[in-house]
């Protein structure tokens, strides 16, 4: 088999001591920056980039890639333990991860997310190995109308992200849509809601919004609390780390679905792991027989999104390596690192630089295995974070959030955004408005609008373009079906209430 001989060649490179060391450095650093709120793979890779000039191309890309997918393992840790996401892609993990920690199940939550991350990554690596070129072709043919339809479907699904009042959830989705409009409009070059500010022209940073509304708001909400409802280390015996058979059973299909959702969004350049994790959470809540458990520590609510964001970050290598088209800024950095070595990535990279490609794929396996081994014992240490008194912990978190957000663009304006978003997030929390739908609206809104308008420009104003293309048409049909199911369920609910009334 070609695949096996290729993979064998890849492992022979990736297992050499030097490469193994850089892979280890990459995944370890990735875990660390993942855990630290705000500081993401982007900042870390940008810092390591100059160092890669002195490495071999294989060592350089394997280290940077390790950092990239490793960050996804760490980012759920702070979400679960502190209710503060390590990265926007783990913001959704707060919803059920933190309640689990409060119930004394932090150890289980961390072990399950690590397992889910590993499972999501592994299945996505299989895709990269076996189907990279055809999947890249699929990604290329995914045009503006298809992007519009899939994003619209995502937006519809976001309605189920809200806990409690449906109305409040929708208000937050729309608030997110409006915030997403700030900045220069791609299609017309018009500045919207910028008030003559250059900083606003660039748009509001997603990291700043996520860190403010989840991270800072959490800190603000805890000011003045004496930690009365905190868990003590005494409640965290070794038994609390072992997932029950029920945990595993409840997580199996969600991990599978999360992986599929993640791989899908990872493939599409410009989408990525944050959308993947949000959508997979929405999917789980929708298919669950017991949606009321979500938000109160449902294990599916953490395993599915974590499988999804890891799967997305592995699948994102497909368009990057087969087309030379980076799915996000971090991928662009990695391509930059290869360019410095004179490797210009394109459709023939897999053939012309077969050794590099297969060494990288082999390193995915090695790296993910390292992450599993690295993360599992560390969980016992991380859990102790909960025992740190608030007055010590929160100033550190505040500093980390500010440094992290600053490290994305080196722009102090983003720190002000965190402060404003944090205060707004706190007020919303007090009033019972959920933050997650807003974040999803913020991410998806601009993409829906941009692709909708672009499609109409391509079709010269005809709406047919959305229904004459099969993929777009089926996605829209799925959206319609979704609306019908929700409406039907709501009507049945009302019917039940009315039936009860006469008694």
């Amino acid at each position: 088999m070609d695949l096996f001989s290729n993979l064998q060649m890849g492992f022979s490179i990736a297992l050499s001591p030097e490469i193994l060391m850089y892979c280890f450095i990459g995944v370890t650093l990735g875990t660390v920056v993942g855990i630290l709120p705000g500081i993401g793979a982007l900042a870390a890779i940008a810092m390591l980039l100059p160092m890669t000039y002195f490495l071999s191309p294989a060592a350089a890309i394997i280290m940077l890639a390790g950092l990239y997918y490793g960050a996804n393992y760490g980012s759920s840790t702070s979400a679960i333990l502190l209710n503060i996401p390590g990265a926007p892609s783990s913001a959704i993990t707060c919803l059920d991860g933190y309640p689990m920690a409060r119930q004394g199940r932090a150890g289980v939550a961390l072990i399950m997310t690590t397992l889910a991350s590993f499972a999501g990554s592994s299945m996505s690596i299989l895709l990269v190995m076996a189907f990279a070129p055809p999947l890249a072709q699929f990604a290329i043919n995914f045009g503006s109308p298809e992007y519009f339809s899939v994003m619209l479907l995502g937006l519809l699904a976001s309605s189920s992200l809200s806990q409690g009042s449906f109305f409040k959830g929708m208000v937050m989705v729309f608030a997110g849509l409006l915030l997403g409009m700030v900045g220069l409009d791609v299609n017309s070059g018009v500045a919207r809601y910028t008030y003559g500010s250059l900083n606003l022209q660039a748009g509001i940073s997603i990291v700043a919004i996520a860190m403010g509304i989840f991270g800072l708001a959490e800190v603000l909400a805890n000011i003045g609390m004496r930690g009365g409802n905190r868990i003590s280390m005494k409640d965290l015996g070794w038994r609390t780390y072992i997932p029950t058979r029920k945990d595993l059973k409840q997580s199996f299909f969600p991990i599978m679905r999360g992986t599929a959702v993640g791989a899908w969004f990872g493939l599409l350049p410009g989408t990525g792991s944050a959308i993947a994790s949000f959508i997979s959470y929405a999917v789980e809540k929708r298919v669950s027989k017991t949606p009321e458990r979500f938000g109160k520590g449902a294990i599916e609510g953490i395993t599915a999104p974590e499988a999804a964001n890891n799967s997305a970050s592995q699948a994102a290598f497909i368009p990057t390596l087969t087309l030379g088209i980076p799915g996000d800024v971090v991928m662009a950095l990695m391509l930059g690192a290869l360019m410095i070595h004179g490797i210009s990535v394109g459709p023939r990279t897999i053939i012309e630089h077969a050794d590099l490609f297969w060494a990288l794929v082999a390193s995915f396996w090695i790296g993910n295995f390292m992450l599993l081994v690295l993360n599992a014992p560390l969980i016992f240490i991380w859990v102790r974070l909960i025992a740190i008194p608030y007055q010590v912990l929160y100033p550190i978190i505040l500093a980390l959030v500010c440094v992290g957000v600053y490290s994305v663009n080196f722009n102090t304006f983003d720190i002000y955004v965190v402060i404003v978003a944090g205060i707004i997030g706190y007020v919303l929390r007090v009033l019972g408005f959920p933050a997650a739908p807003m974040l999803l609206g913020f991410i998806l809104g601009p993409m829906v609008e941009e692709n909708f308008r672009r499609s109409l420009m391509l079709s010269r104003g005809s709406f047919d373009i959305f229904v004459t293309r099969p993929v777009s048409a089926s996605l829209l049909a799925a959206g319609l079906l979704f609306i019908i199911i929700v409406a039907w369920a709501a009507m049945r609910e009302r019917q039940k209430l009315q039936d009860k009334k006469p008694d």
Binding site: G143, V190, A202, F410
Partner: protein, 330 residues
């Protein structure tokens, strides 16, 4: 003793002067501290890669570290503004692209004027824009492409990396010079515009030659003409729009600037260090692989070039805004 006191006070004064950033002996000691190089674009792209190579070469010549920082946002304008506001002491260099020229014409929020706020140091390299289209369309030369566009106004879908981005000016300049009409389709950056061309959503893409070169080799895309004055060394058989009689030149150059008022001798020293860096084999090798142009302009040539660029793009953008093809953001 008065002499001791005089020496002491002179020393203290010197310390103070040094501390606020005016070294006591200006000529010999520059640079006496690390130099900051602001790159207003994301790390990893060509602009950043070339800047980092130049920075490394400059370090050798100047004997001081040259620290590259990426200050991104608003199409480079945030980094330009920060570079313009730095002390004019030669310790802060700003890497500019033509966006520093076009910015003020495209948005009234942009306050930086390159001719007034900066002192040009050197322009060591750049990468040209070219007419890149799908290979499976009913044209195979630049003339056929322009003829087709003339006969079918608005039918050719021309993708660009954002309305008002520098690359978008190429199809606009072609329209302005030849009278043809394209339908402009904007994308969120060069990558998505390239994907759109590869997937056949658009017929042509206004993207840098660097990202497209692999797909041209593969035969999916073709390069019809370059928007440079002279033929492009990496593609000697491809004509230029200029030799076809159209006044279209759009070169993404990478220029090095210091704030206005920087002492001339320091400008010269920095220019010399950049010339040294741009002549090093490692820079030239990367330039060849990435198909960069490497004509070195010193301070005075760069200054003249900036004036002509300002006139070129200022005129083009004003015409396009009048015609309704571009919007001036506020």
């Amino acid at each position: 003793m008065t002499t001791t006191r005089a020496i002491l006070s002179a020393g203290i004064a010197a310390l103070f002067v040094t501390a606020v950033g005016y070294p006591a002996s200006a000529q010999d000691s520059f640079p006496s501290q690390p130099i900051t190089m602001i790159v207003p674009f994301a790390p990893g792209a060509d602009t950043d890669n070339s800047a980092r190579l130049i920075a490394r070469g400059m370090e050798e010549r100047l004997g001081q570290p040259v620290v590259v920082i990426n200050r991104t946002g608003a199409g480079g304008q945030i980094g330009f503004a920060e570079g313009a506001a730095a002390d004019p002491d030669g310790y802060t260099i700003t890497v500019a692209t033509p966006s520093i020229v076009t910015g003020p014409y495209l948005s009234s929020a942009v306050r930086v004027r390159v001719l007034e706020d900066f002192e040009p140091v050197a322009l060591p390299a750049g990468t040209p824009l070219a007419v890149i289209t799908r290979a499976d369309r009913p044209w195979s030369t630049a003339q056929e492409f322009l003829d087709y566009a003339a006969e079918n106004p608005g039918e050719i879908l021309y993708g660009n990396p954002g309305e008002g981005s520098f690359s978008h000016l190429l199809p606009l300049a072609i329209e302005s010079a030849t009278g043809v009409e394209f339908t402009h389709i904007a994308y969120q950056g060069g990558g998505p515009a390239l994907v759109a061309a590869l997937g056949g959503e658009v017929d042509a893409a206004a993207v840098g030659i660097g990202g497209a070169v692999e797909h041209i080799r593969e035969g999916t895309l073709q390069v019809l003409a370059f928007a440079t004055r002279n033929r492009y060394p990496a593609f000697p058989d491809t004509p230029t729009l200029h030799e076809m009689g159209h006044d279209v030149e759009t070169l993404t150059w990478w220029g090095y600037l210091v704030p206005k008022g920087t002492p001339q001798d320091r400008v010269e020293m920095l220019a010399d260090a950049i010339r040294h860096a741009a002549g090093k084999p490692e820079f030239l090798e990367t330039a060849e692989r990435r198909t960069w142009l490497t004509d070195y302009y010193g301070p005075s040539e760069f200054a003249e070039f900036l004036v002509s660029e300002d006139a070129r793009y200022g005129g083009l953008i004003e015409r396009m805004i009048e015609r309704g093809s571009l919007v001036r953001a506020n």
